[in-house]
């Protein structure tokens, strides 16, 4: 046993075990003569899924007496300080690149091209929302060997840039398991895989190494350099579990942003049901853009016109009314009204206070969607 890992388990939550096997960091750091977190793992018959609390000191000493090789733990973000440690990592990178290869695919939806990763045996593929662009669209999945498979886009959350596809043909596909992104630590080593610049027959997948620079709830940043075409590709931890999906980049080569895989895990039901929601990184689905169906005079808050049978009209708002409040917030400018209104979700009920003939009155508007405006029924 060289990889000192519990075997891959499919339920995300179980992965926590991997991170509980650290020893007392302070003591170990002292051993290294450094304040950095270096974790030593003893090779041999130790069950690594156990926490150190489960191994008594005597047991540990006994194992050490058998004199087994001492390894350092880069899984938790320790930086190598010796050639032996670099070699240990290198050996692992090589194995890892082999493990993750088959499940990383090219994704083509219309004129959009990106990368994706198969995450279930029956062919669910994680990618970025902006790669698929919408729900229920035909897509082509290209396996690393060039095999093309028909697929369909399922759900997407445009706020986080998460998107899901499903390969149509029933088969058993190579896949990678989702990990738990919330447990990623700053400095942790990760590998990014993708098709930068799009699919290239004589090049294939491109592998990059980097470390977690920041781990937020809605975005992970790393110094794995990414570029157009990588979108939707997997960021994997040293276990080979998917912890992020490539989404966007910043100006510097070290600014690379990934969707945390937890976003997928938590919203799996909605994504797999084909829900298209959220606004932001993945654009806006017209069905989710709030629409009220009225216009105001110039920069004022005075209603200029209302769209017949639109949300404002249905609620009883009339030309000449002055909007005073929205959900209890006093308004001083039209801009403010727009800002606040943009936050509403279609079908949400909004309380709007208007002034008509010097009388103030409360009106409840059921927010419509831009889709209704473009496509009136």
């Amino acid at each position: 046993m060289t990889r000192c890992l519990p075997s891959r388990i499919d339920q995300p939550g179980v992965r926590t075990l991997t991170y509980e096997r650290s020893g007392n960091p302070r003591i170990l750091a002292a051993l290294c003569g450094s304040t950095a977190l270096f974790l030593f793992i003893l090779l041999g018959n130790v069950a690594f899924a156990q926490t150190d609390a489960d191994i008594s000191e005597e047991e540990a000493a006994a194992t050490a007496d058998k004199s087994v090789q001492v390894e350092f733990d880069f899984f938790d973000g320790a930086a190598p300080i010796s050639i032996a440690q670099l070699k240990q990592m290198e050996k692992h990178f090589k194995e890892l690149s082999g493990d993750v290869k088959d499940a990383t695919v090219s994704v083509q939806v219309g004129s959009n091209q990106g990368t994706g990763v198969i995450v279930t045996r029956d062919g669910y593929v994680m990618t970025a929302a902006h790669v698929i662009g919408g729900a229920d669209r035909p897509a082509i999945i290209k396996l690393p060997d060039g095999t093309e498979l028909e697929a369909k886009t399922l759900g997407l959350n445009r706020q986080f840039d998460s998107g899901l596809l499903k390969i149509k043909a029933k088969d058993k596909y190579p896949y990678l398991s989702p990990g738990v992104s919330s447990e990623l630590k700053t400095g942790q080593w990760v590998m990014a895989i993708g098709h930068p610049g799009g699919w290239e027959e004589d090049r294939g997948l491109v592998y990059r190494i980097g470390r977690i620079l920041n781990n937020g709830d809605s975005a992970i940043s790393t110094d794995c350099s990414l570029v157009g075409g990588d979108s939707g590709g997997p960021l994997v931890d040293m276990n080979g579990d998917v912890v992020g999906i490539h989404s966007r980049i910043g100006m510097r080569v070290s600014d690379n942003v990934h969707v945390p895989v937890d976003v997928f895990s938590e919203q799996w039901d909605d994504l797999s049901k084909g829900r298209d929601w959220g606004r932001g990184i993945g654009g806006v689905n017209p069905a989710n853009e709030p629409w009220i169906g009225m216009s105001m005079e110039g920069d004022t808050l005075v209603i200029e016109s209302v769209v017949e049978k639109g949300p404002a009209d249905k609620a009883g708002i009339k030309k000449g009314d002055r909007v005073m409040e929205i959900d209890g917030v006093r308004l001083r400018s039209q801009r403010r009204f727009r800002t606040l209104f943009q936050r509403a979700e279609p079908k949400e009920k909004l309380k709007i206070k208007i002034k008509r003939d010097d009388k103030e009155m409360d009106i409840e508007v059921t927010v419509g969607s831009r889709k209704d405006a473009d496509d009136p029924r």
């Binding site: 300080i81 050639i83 004129s111 930068p196 610049g197 090049r203 592998y207 990059r208 794995c224 403010r336």
Partner: protein, 535 residues
């Protein structure tokens, strides 16, 4: 959807997330005022899409973990209050906000660039002491702490790595490949006169001994007899995931990455016309001309039948296409086409396929943004390993070592945002052996090119002599070739002169050395005499 709207949407969006990593533009605005060190960046999509816009938001560079936690705490405590106060503020000056954010961003970028330039213009000793990546965070893969792990193995290579310098700037790195002063480097970055800065900081003059355009390698010669030589790897065991450390001159690598794609042929970029063709009985017919393409600019039309390329006749599509593709972008080719029974000539300046394709255009932009400069020549190598080390064009030409400290290749190009290219050691060594023979001396290579042009000239003149028709085209071509020949001759003369001068300098230096040596000997003898005298 305009980018401006997108900015608005993003800020709305992010403000709804209780996530400190993605905050509102208001927060970004204030944080920039507070601290210059906060880098913001434009988040860009990284897929190819014909429809979406490029810039989709302004985001704060990821905060450090501590900052993050602090912000999170603050955020959780008073998320609502904060939100409200920000809203109020935004109401007052929101109209200016977008512009201001943009300006600030620009300013920050400029500062970054300036900072980078400062680093570059440092004296080498300062650069070594401070380390090039001193601005990197401790937990990144460019952090000094991590790079230092390679210290035990890079010494021998660092001692044999030189900086190729011109006008007080490093234009490339090089590897000393023999103790008597042969230095391997990247050809296309060279512009004479050059000097080599050895690892001990000494500047020595150098001349180009051999050039190998196929691999873009050049062999330089410097004076020396016991110079340290790079330790070449003896076997080729590289595979995806292998660590690669790019060595400069210090005890710390310039950068570290891994093999991302195994050695492969890097195809040349081929010239592009922008036409659709089909085979007909009359020849190869143009069925479509892309708008704004080189073909359209050159006057080609749908229905034209291409019969000649630069005077060479073609009747088959399978022969014509590879011929056109064999010309590089930027080359002007003369097509002879049949239109309404008349022969018409069209001069087409070949373009890059990418320039017409919005998808590739974007990729190009992403590859070069943030000051990520690319090598002039970054395509067309017989074999190269792709790795993810962050390099600048002037970091190429030098040795790359594995974890054993053996030189496994020579960096040959910064190709894009995610890619650096390295020629494998076996190929580089083979080229060194070829170049050492002297058959690839710049003078010889230039001479061969001149001979080739002369042959073409002869051919054309024969054609002129044999043809009773209007020869304006041929005459024009001949004039062009004459000019090319003239410039090559000048280059050749320059190279000769440089070489002669270098040899003269060496001669002078050795004379000075000899006279100093004899002076010392004379003094020693005198001293011995004096000693004898006192006895």
């Amino acid at each position: 959807m305009t980018p401006g709207n997108d900015l608005g949407n993003i800020s709305l969006q992010t403000s709804q997330l209780n996530d400190p990593a993605m905050k509102t533009k208001n927060a970004i605005h204030s944080s920039i005022i507070k601290s210059h060190s906060v880098a913001i960046f434009c988040a860009l999509f990284i897929s190819f899409s014909g429809s979406s816009v490029l810039a989709i938001g302004v985001q704060e560079a990821p905060p450090t973990q501590q900052e993050d936690d602090k912000k999170k705490e603050k955020y959780e405590k008073g998320a609502e209050e904060q939100d409200k106060s920000e809203q109020d503020k935004s109401e007052q000056d929101e109209s200016k906000k977008n512009d201001e954010v943009k300006d600030d961003k620009k300013e920050t970028e400029e500062k970054q660039d300036a900072a980078e330039e400062n680093t570059d213009s440092e004296s080498p000793s300062e650069g070594r002491r401070r380390g090039r990546r001193s601005r990197s965070r401790a937990s990144s893969r460019t952090s000094n702490g991590f790079l230092d792990a390679f210290q035990p193995v890079i010494g021998p290579t660092a001692k044999a790595t030189v900086q190729i310098r011109r006008n007080d700037k490093t234009i490339a790195l090089g590897a000393i490949v023999s103790a008597d002063g042969y230095v391997l480097t990247k050809l296309s970055e060279l512009k004479t006169p050059i000097t080599c800065r050895l690892a001990d900081g000494k500047d020595v003059s150098a001349y180009v001994y051999g050039v190998h355009p196929e691999t873009d390698l050049a062999l330089l010669k410097v004076e020396g007899d016991k110079l340290p030589v790079v330790p070449w790897a003896t076997e080729d065991t590289l595979d995806i995931g292998n660590w690669l450390a790019t060595v400069k001159d210090g005890i710390r690598p310039l950068g570290v990455g891994v093999v991302g794609v195994n050695a492969r042929l890097i195809k040349p970029q081929s010239g592009f016309m922008g036409v659709n063709l089909r085979q007909t009985e009359r020849g190869v017919e143009i069925t479509n001309v892309t708008a704004d393409s080189p073909a359209q600019k050159g006057g080609l039309d749908r229905g034209d039948v291409v019969i000649k390329v630069n005077g060479e006749s073609f009747t088959e599509i399978d022969k014509l296409i590879p011929r056109v593709k064999s010309f590089p972008p930027g080359e002007e080719i003369r097509l002879t086409v049949l239109r309404d029974g008349n022969e018409i000539v069209a001069d087409v300046v070949l373009g890059e396929e990418r320039s017409l394709n919005p998808l590739y255009e974007r990729s190009n932009q992403q590859n070069t943004m943030g000051g990520n400069r690319l090598s002039k020549r970054r395509q067309n190598f017989p074999s190269a390993v792709q790795h993810d080390t962050f390099l600048k064009p002037e970091d190429c030409g030098g040795p790359v070592v594995d974890v054993d400290g053996k030189v496994v290749g020579i960096n040959i190009a910064r190709q894009g945002r995610v890619a650096s290219l390295m020629l494998p050691a076996s190929l580089a060594q083979k080229v060194v052996n070829d170049l050492k023979t002297g058959q690839w001396a710049p003078a010889v290579v230039h001479k061969n090119r001149i001979d080739e042009i002369n042959r073409t000239l002869q051919d054309l003149m024969t054609q002129v002599a044999l043809s009773p028709m209007n020869n304006d085209d041929l005459e024009k071509k001949i004039k062009e070739l004459n000019e090319k020949e003239k410039s090559l001759r000048e280059k050749l003369d320059n190279t000769y002169r440089e070489r002669l001068r270098a040899e003269w300098e060496i001669e002078q230096a050795s004379q000075t050395f000899d006279s100093a040596k004899s002076e010392i000997e004379r003094l020693q003898k005198e001293r011995e005499k004096l000693v004898d005298g006192t006895k």
